[in-house]
């Protein structure tokens, strides 16, 4: 066991534990915080794998931006706290699917990559990365910039309070379903409609 292995095992256990708590925690904010820990752990995993630059990006983008964004999202939507409110009735099913998938996938992974010899970890130098992204990968890089602009504008369009700049309010769609819906659902929909189009929008905006 080299030093790399020791570091990897320790950080890996932390990451795996964080992931489990992220998806099972009963408290929303705890789940988001454990998610941040998991993301930080993954940055830690990148270090013994000699991907220093990626570890840095992981911290800046994921821990710094995405995790915080999620916390804002959870706080602004003021979702209820408590296990029953967070998890559906499918916990057993989820356990079975995820567990089964893990057994199958890990068997396949060990079968395919298990007998590879241990190798010296050699990461690219950061200038190699820079040259690669602007020489070999310049097209996806440019397209990604367009995608990010679209995401930025799209997020603003959806998140701002006004529904649009001009024209009349759309008539609310009435879609006839193939099967008649239970009257309960219709009632709830009506209630949501009135609360949604009333003062609600102002309050949460």
């Amino acid at each position: 066991m080299t030093g790399h292995d020791v570091v990897f095992v320790l950080v890996g256990l932390l990451t795996a534990g964080g992931a489990v708590l992220t998806v099972t925690s009963k408290n929303l904010m705890h789940a988001a915080l454990f998610f941040a820990v998991t993301l930080g752990g993954i940055a830690g995993v990148f270090l013994p794998l000699a991907a220093d630059f990626l570890a840095l990006v992981q911290i800046v983008v994921y821990v710094g931006a995405v995790a915080v964004l999620f916390m804002f999202g959870l706080m602004l939507t003021r979702a209820p706290i408590g296990r029953e409110a967070l998890d559906g009735q499918n916990r057993g099913l989820a356990m079975a699917v995820a567990g089964g998938l893990f057994v199958v996938l890990s068997t396949l992974v060990i079968g395919a990559f298990g007998d590879l010899p241990t190798a010296e970890v050699t990461g690219p130098r950061i200038d190699d990365l820079g040259i690669a992204i602007f020489a070999d990968w310049v097209l996806p890089f440019e397209v990604l910039s367009m995608l990010l602009l679209a995401a930025l504008i799209g997020a603003i369009v959806l998140a701002r309070r006004e529904t649009g700049e001009s024209g009349e309010e759309l008539t609310v769609t009435r879609i006839e379903m193939a099967q008649d819906r239970d009257p309960d659902a219709l009632e709830r929909e009506q209630a949501a409609l009135t609360s949604g189009s009333g003062g609600d929008g102002e309050e949460h905006a």
């Binding site: 489990v20 804002f72 298990g114 970890v121 949604g196």
Partner: protein, 103 residues
């Protein structure tokens, strides 16, 4: 270092994400679970790059991981905006409440 350790960790994270997607009802938590799956993919890519194909001048694996991080950030932004809009209209972010349409 053997590649099998990181690969198994990635598999575990991926399956934890799958568990979260199925079990969670809050749309934001479902999105968090999907992000876990994407991070698992990144561990896979970096492991393959640095242990199996280290000599690649195009650094394919790490580049792929960088692109995934970029796209994932865009998705989170758009996704939270969609969840917000839904919350404004329905005062709920529960995916089980999104039941206006069946069949």
């Amino acid at each position: 270092m053997s590649p099998i350790g990181p690969l198994l960790l990635a598999t575990f994270l991926f399956c934890a994400g799958v568990y979260g997607v199925i079990a969670r009802r809050n749309a934001v938590l479902v999105l968090i679970s999907v992000e876990l799956m994407l991070n698992a993919v990144n561990i896979n890519l970096v492991t393959f790059q640095n242990l199996l194909y280290p000599g690649d001048p195009a650094v394919t694996g790490q580049m792929f991981a960088l692109f995934i991080i970029g796209v994932a950030a865009a998705e989170v932004g758009v996704g939270l905006a969609i969840v917000f809009n839904m919350f404004r209209n329905r005062a709920s972010v529960d995916v089980d409440d999104a039941d206006l349409m069946r069949w």
